[in-house]
Symmetry: C2
Subunit: 719 residues, 2 copies
């Protein structure tokens, strides 16, 4: 790829970004778009929907940037919880890493690279006609002692990243502990989920649970809620919800029609329809109430229960100990937050769950294989000459400079990005059928899946199919991986630089602009009359989509910083954009749906360690290829040290992200001991884990105070 | 190898076995050998050292066989603990498996094999001149439908082994629980070992422990013993012990000299020497007492302590929970039995332990590589023709039939066995420096090491160096393992049949005869005057040597039963011998030193599963090789099912071998609640984990009531 092609891509994307930012600055001020751009503020009542028109609304203003910039971490923590803070820490961490690497890369490595003449001399008179390769390590002469500069940079950056990783792990784990200490008593702190409850003949699950915990935990056991199979009820509720929405829609429609024109008899038909639906809804409601009233008939007991205790320490004890002599009975698990429970999960039997798990594994493998096809097509585009061989009739078109530059510089990344867009929802769906009991666990698992999918399918597939596809089999020959990587990775540097610009920049600006919700609202607006009293669904941050993206860019940055330092400024711009945009989104758009207490960080840490070791493998290969085998040998301790560092961090910090220590649990329990509000809390605890499908529901058609929180929570459980 | 060579080997070994058994029957009755053959009975006072001479003592009698046969499992349990029962269960389990496999192998598979003519027709007129290969699967014609018999046998035996594995796991885990329920209160049930204790400036480790547990476990914490670095003291005690023994020896010697001849002035010199040593011992003793009296000066506190609680449940809770916010502090571990603690371990610092661990790993790898040399030599012997190529001058000798038969049939296994003899002590030594806190853990780890060492170095090295050494690299090409195995494994069947006969039979008879202790006692007898009041050191069962051996023979049996069913009768004979011999040894020789509560069984289970999967891989390869690829494909589910079965067993039984459940702990605690002897037990608990090097010691030269249990326990800690 030539510099000019890269510049084309940069140009297009800068233009797009500016456009999006400007549009956003204007559109967000239009009350009609408040639901898209400030749903959170709307829901919190901080922003009123209707306001007077003034001219200022039409002039783009950067006020939101200032607001987002001024947001402190404590404010963010209180507003959006620890997960949002952890998310922002990922960006800050990456900014620091690539700030440091950027200084080394641009001011030291880049001049060294361009001073070589292994490929060609740099043509400074016409920079844009240089191939991007002259800025990479490939241009340094073989065996040149200048390569020791790269060697030093690898050591230096690794040390810096490890130091920062330690610092951040420490910082976030202390935040996590502080968050726990500062938290009010929460139901999930006092509750465990017990599964595989053995039931003797003639007694119910509930009796069994009661007997067991009264026997073995008499002083600490409080209450329990047996889980029930409520998928039938849930279907009924969904139907009722749909019907109710339709009635609301028809009513508001007919009101309007009534107001506007009372002719054509349309009004009469609509009223008939409304009556018809109302009748149907009443029937449904009746049916529901009937089924709910006789729970044991309508639903089946699942051999699982939420069991509550009177102290956090007792809860943790029950969770950590094997309860029964038979280790397959009375399996304990930490309870998620009550609104975080993924209820549909309990509806499937053990066997069904087991089969789903196998299906998920197979699906992930299939998805990975099938995804190679678009990657291959994209690869074809970057190698223009190959494309001409495949499609000779395109030759004439491709000779036009602009076309060829768009095709090689912009199109490949765009296609890849579109395909990548569909991966997170698929992975989330796969995780949801895998047997996790909470939505947060599903998202965490999906986050991991998306991350590794991206790394394997974008990084490795691009790198190795770029040379030859069959090289995927090189992973069976571990000794030669560094040398294979050394040949293939630098060859793809221009693609990945373009990828950062296209995928990275565009993704942040489209995140800000919220393209899809915006289009949806545009399309829906003529048909759906928004009811100002309607419950507004505030979206939650799709961590499983955005964390893997940032981590993948970090991987690119870490692996390419010494090969092609030109990637770093683009990456830094991306990270700065992301920093501002996501802070803004946390302020205005996303509300937290659950709190994992920073459990996403270990994923980040692992991914960074993997990036470092991958970078070391590439460096070892590169130095061998560049005939500086002494440097290769001297690099071998580096991955070993990095892995030992990782091992230490696993011992030092990881346990804090799994459970809380006896020390903190006991201290927290003591704090509550004299709190008078605790008895009230324990009263509420007994019903905290009630399945929402079993709660009473009311669609009183003559009152507008719809029981909407229930609806939204039950529909949320369907996600 | 020809049948005649095998017969030579069988002949030699049968002769040896008979010789050993007869010698044993006679020698064990001689009072002079009681220390070798019935040390346990001697120590328990059941057998008196001096008895009248009678003729019966010189006639071999099989009375001991009867006694060993009649021993019931409950008697064995009460005498030698659960570990001995588990050990016998391994033999019984193998007997059952190979009894079943033997019936199938000898009556179904063997006739099928001999009926083929892929290699040659069986020459029934002169059986001994047939190659052993005609009895193997190699002789069945390619593509013959008779191979389906082997296919069926593989499925049948796998199902049978899995059923038995489940049955035994269940049986032993229930035994383990019963053993726990039946046990008296033991110090290790109420104690945990805490390591990495943080100490603030100015306070001691002891203060720190006290403060922490009084703060967080006020209602359950009882007492603690801080571990001290006592290697200096231990050296002093060892020196004193040596000196004391020398004095005893000299004294008894001079008594004798005094009695026999009072001339030559020898007596005077000896008395001088005794006086000199006594003086020295007194000095040492003084020094020791001085150092012990001021513990804080002579020894250094280690940041570890044994912490005791007032109930088993509280102890288990403290063990399972992460105690401190910082997960690298207050690390908890289950305490071993007090006399099982490996004290020297505490003497080394964290860094030293960490380095030792690395050293151990490297040593294991080195040992594995170096061991290939004897294996290669042995392999050379079985291929006589190759030997003649290497050493042409041997040609004339090797043409003598007897020589060649001894060389091919007996020598290889013997050499291998001698080399293998030194592996268990080496592995035990390596495990001892690896950082285990108890001797039982060291033995368990050594058992694992020896097992995998044997499997890799005997099985795989023999199989693959037999064809070509470089094939060790085939493990980098996992897809082709079955086909490689299929070619190489059957080729070594005659070697392994001979190996079972030589190594197996000889090892049991030498175990019975206790060759090495017997020779030692023979050599020592003229020099050391045994003092009838001397403390007798009763040996303990070397599980890490015998369990891997039996498991390795089981692996051979399982992998070869359908390839070369001729191995089965020899294996059965070996197992029957082992059954009787080891029961006899438990009765007469070995006393338990510690009790793991059957924790050796999971090693057995894993090894069996590995054997099964290996057998499946070989079978898949064989059927492909024999051009019956349908059978190969139909076999593929078998290893998958076996691994799933293993996964189930890991979930169902393994946790029971790691800790006891809350249920059983609480029940056991309740049982003790009203026991009046508990207060006395708790008093003793406070000092149960005192380092033996810190206990008072007394070599009062004028009294014979030597404080020998102390000596033996401190010297035991050096093992």
């Amino acid at each position: 790829m030539l510099v000019s092609a890269l510049l084309t891509s940069v140009g297009i994307n800068t233009g797009l970004c500016c456009l999006f930012f400007t549009l956003y600055s204007v559109l967000r001020k239009q009350p009609i778009n408040y639901e898209v751009y400030v749903p959170r503020l709307l829901a919190e009542g901080k922003s009123r929907r209707r306001s007077r028109f003034n001219l200022e609304r039409l002039i783009p203003s950067p006020g939101w940037v200032k607001k987002a910039w001024q947001l402190t971490e404590d404010e963010l923590l209180s507003m959006s919880g620890l997960d949002a803070v952890v998310f922002m820490r990922i960006i800050i961490f990456s900014l620091r890493v690539f700030g440091f690497a950027g200084i080394i890369g641009l001011f030291i490595l880049l001049p060294v690279n361009t001073s070589g003449d292994q490929l060609t001399n740099v043509d400074f008179s016409d920079l844009s006609n240089n191939s991007l390769d002259v800025f990479t390590i490939s241009n340094v002469n073989n065996g040149s002692s200048k390569l020791w500069v790269h060697f030093g940079a690898v050591y230096l950056v690794t040390a810096f990243v490890c130091y920062l990783l330690y610092y951040e792990y420490n910082y976030i784990s202390s935040k996590r502990v502080a968050y726990f200490y500062a938290s009010k008593p929460q139901p999930e702190q006092f509750t465990i989920l017990v599964r595989s409850i053995p039931v003797s003949r003639g007694s119910s699950v509930s009796d069994s649970v009661d007997k067991f915990f009264r026997e073995y935990h008499p002083s600490t056991y409080l209450s329990h809620v047996v889980v029930r199979r409520t998928n039938k009820l849930r279907n009924l509720i969904n139907n009722a919800n749909k019907l109710y929405r339709r009635i609301i829609h028809l009513q508001s429609d007919s009101d309007q029609t009534h107001r506007q024109c009372d002719c054509f008899g349309l009004f009469g038909r609509k009223v008939d329809l409304v009556d018809h639906y109302e009748k149907k809804l009443e029937d449904l409601e009746e049916n529901l109430r009937l089924q709910q009233s006789d729970v044991s008939l309508a639903t089946e007991e699942v051999r699982a229960a939420f069991v509550s205790f009177n102290s956090r320490y007792a809860t943790a004890t029950a969770f950590h100990m094997q309860q029964s002599i038979n280790p397959t009975h009375w399996l304990t698990e930490e309870a998620p937050e009550p609104h975080d429970v993924y209820w549909p999960f309990f509806s499937s039997s053990f066997m069904k769950r087991w089969i789903s798990k196998l299906v998920v594994i197979v699906s992930c493998i299939l998805l990975t294989i099938l995804f190679l096809i678009p990657v291959l097509v994209v690869q074809g585009l970057t190698n223009l000459s190959q494309l001409e061989v495949w499609f000779p009739f395109l030759k004439s078109v491709l000779t036009i400079t602009v076309v060829s530059q768009v095709v090689t510089g912009y199109l490949p990344s765009l296609i890849l990005q579109l395909f990548l867009k569909i991966v997170p929802p698929i992975m989330e769906f796969l995780s949801s059928i895998q047997g996790y009991i909470s939505q947060s666990a599903i998202q965490k698992s999906a986050c991991n899946k998306v991350l590794w999918f991206t790394i394997w399918n974008i990084f490795f597939a691009t790198v190795f199919s770029g040379s030859v596809l069959y090289q995927v089999s090189i992973f069976l020959d571990p000794k030669n991986i560094p040398s294979k990587l050394a040949v293939s990775v630098p060859a793809q540097s221009s693609f990945f630089i373009a990828y950062v610009v296209t995928s990275g920049w565009t993704s942040t600006s489209s995140e800000l602009f919220r393209i899809i919700p915006f289009i949806c609202s545009l399309v829906k607006r003529p048909f759906v009359k928004t009811n100002p009293d309607d419950e507004l669904e505030v979206p939650s941050m799709p961590f499983h989509q955005d964390i893997p993206r940032i981590l993948f860019f970090s991987l690119l940055g870490i692996t390419y910083f010494f090969l092609a330092p030109l990637i770093l400024p683009f990456l830094l711009i991306y990270l700065c954009l992301a920093y501002i945009v996501f802070r803004n989104q946390f302020l205005n758009v996303y509300a937290p749906k659950y709190e994992t207490g920073g459990k996403f960080w270990p994923i980040v840490h692992n991914s960074m360690i993997f990036s470092l070791v991958l970078m070391h493998a590439i460096a070892i290969g590169i130095f061998t290829l560049k005939k500086l085998s002494l440097a290769s040998s001297l690099l071998i301790p580096l991955p070993i040290l990095t892995l030992l560092f990782n091992e230490y961090c696993r011992k030092r910090f990881l346990p804090m992200f799994i459970t809380y220590s006896a020390e903190s649990l006991i201290l927290k329990d003591r704090e509550d001991r004299d709190d008078p509000s605790m008895s009230e809390f324990f009263d509420r605890l007994a019903t905290a884990y009630q399945d929402p499908a079993l709660m009473p529901i009311q669609y009183s058609t003559n009152s507008d105070s719809l029981n909407s929180p229930l609806i939204s929570s039950s529909s949320r459980a369907e996600v």
